[in-house]
Subunit: 337 residues, 2 copies
């Protein structure tokens, strides 16, 4: 069973993974790491994954058979384990708990040759709805406090399988980085009685000051944040206040989100010649559905530079591309969608 352990100085939790346990000789040098091109996710190979927990099957049909558009399955090598009770224990001055949680894979298309950015917007819409449906289902499990959706695209960004997919990890604690956002946003709200996210959007969208805006749709904005950790880091934010992603209920809104996500990924592909990238979806914790001070959003991070000793030792990032420059490069790309 995996274990969650807390650093006694900074309070940072880590997952000590047993399913993925590795001996010294099991680590493969990064330069030799290959992405697996054989796809266990392709249509007709449903028996190569654990049984599905969600699928879009337009023509009906039985679970774990062909005929799906989007399919969500448990990760075969999960970082956390669904079964078992959440036990908290001490070990002298240290704190630990059982590694209870969910780890799922969202298979974004049946076609192993396509990227997320290549999919039709209606297909991306289905993927985005799948995220919501899994959040709603995982929310019923009272052991869980948070659902993190993320994507590793390309070997350089940590993908191990080429067939396009995203991942969901649900955890019994709120991840540190999300907690930092919640704490910061709450403090701002207490001081100003306004949401910091709304203030950011107002400032970024105001005339003559929109040097960091990349594109907009009816309901969303893609922008280069003021203090990005990484070159060409891009956030997608809803223009209207909403703290939890799973509260979106209009299919049109998912379609609009699919449009701006596809457009953003395509712009990055053109500007940076198909870079590896990660994205994460930040939303309010489970059980805190409607926070006046928080705003769900996507953070997209092309993998262009290497995080090294300085960043790892300081939490400080050196970014060689000012966000105003990155936004301008991305704006100038003629939309392809």
């Amino acid at each position: 069973m995996p274990e969650l352990r807390k650093d006694p100085v900074v309070g940072r939790w880590v997952i000590i993974s047993t399913e993925r346990s590795r001996r010294p000789t099991n680590f493969i040098p990064e330069s030799l790491a290959k992405i697996q091109t054989f796809s266990p996710f392709a249509e007709g190979r449903e028996d190569m994954t654990p049984p599905e927990v969600y699928a879009v099957r337009p023509a009906g049909g039985k679970p774990n058979t062909p005929g799906w558009d989007v399919r969500v399955v448990p990760n075969k090598f999960p970082a956390l384990q669904v079964e078992g009770s959440l036990d908290r224990r001490g070990e002298g001055l240290y704190d630990k708990m059982t590694g209870v949680g969910a780890h799922e894979v969202v298979i974004e298309t049946t076609d192993p040759a396509l990227q997320l950015a290549d999919l039709p917007v209606e297909q991306i819409q289905k993927v985005l709805i799948a995220y919501k449906e899994r959040m709603l289902d995982l929310k019923k499990d009272k052991r869980l406090r948070y659902v993190l959706v993320f994507k590793n695209h390309g070997a350089g960004a940590g993908a191990t399988l080429e067939h396009t997919h995203s991942q969901i990890i649900a955890t019994p604690i709120i991840p540190r980085m999300v907690q930092d956002e919640l704490d910061g946003a709450r403090r701002y709200y207490e001081l100003k009685e306004r949401s910091v996210f709304t203030d950011i959007l107002d400032q970024e969208m105001s005339d003559g000051n929109n040097r960091r805006v990349i594109s907009t749709t009816d309901r969303f904005v893609a922008l280069a944040p003021f203090a990005p950790r990484f070159p060409f880091e891009t956030w997608i934010l809803p223009r209207a206040h909403r703290s939890s992603y799973h509260m979106i209920d209009d299919p049109e809104e998912f379609l609009d989100l699919a449009r701006i996500l596809k457009d953003t990924l395509q712009r990055l592909n053109v500007a940076l010649d198909h870079p590896p990238y990660n994205f994460v979806l930040h939303t309010a914790p489970l059980g805190d559905d409607d926070l006046p001070y928080y705003h769900w959003h996507f953070e997209i991070m092309p993998k262009l530079t290497r995080v090294a000793g300085f960043e790892m030792g300081s939490g400080f990032y050196i970014n060689p591309t000012p966000p105003e420059d990155a936004a301008q490069y991305l704006r100038e790309i003629v939309a392809l969608a």
Copy 2:
């Protein structure tokens, strides 16, 4: 001039580097990145670096000429700039300041073919003393709040030059990760009236409970921390309380530290077949020399796994090697020194 910018939600500062500014086409895919084997740091090439700020010259001799053992020079492509005043500015709701600071390179030996782990302990001792001397000198600059010493070894850990060297970045703010350690350690001290680092050492060194201890010397301990972010992450801590590295004044203590650092790096080299690694030296901020609750230490992080979307989006790390296993592998290696 580089700029420091603060994220308005989480308060994280980033360095927007102008000296290292990059256009979209300037990013080299990681798989093609090469480490430079030609050494501008070799003896006789002193004119290929900016003028030295520190050197050990046993036989005397003029600065920037051959005859040195260890040499410290400003980084030719600094992330922060020494010249200029520290100006704090707002930009609407955002905060920024001029990127004032120091960025130096510690050339650890004249020989471009050696690694730090290969150097005689007396040479490593000189490197460790160089860190202290630079801290004391940078401390005089009242614009600076922190001096971070770190090392990137191997291309996989972000080194761009093969000639063995470490780096020093001095910043006008306390890095977030160090501030987190200071805050956590202070809270523990307020609660317990004891240092958390002393309690960790007591627990780790107690009989029957020392499963995470790798090695010890008269004055230092190398151990696998209870909640490591990375497989084979190893910390070196002084056994006696001291919050600031630059307060070491006994040359014997530096020699003892050189011994355990060399021994640890050699054990990692044997266990993991010469992995790329980063290390960082955490010490108290400038001007807070003597904190009862803080303990300076080294954190050594072999680069064996890739940090991907989950870690970047959550601040949560998945570690596939329990520290008790890592410590056992490293303990079982016969010391080579």
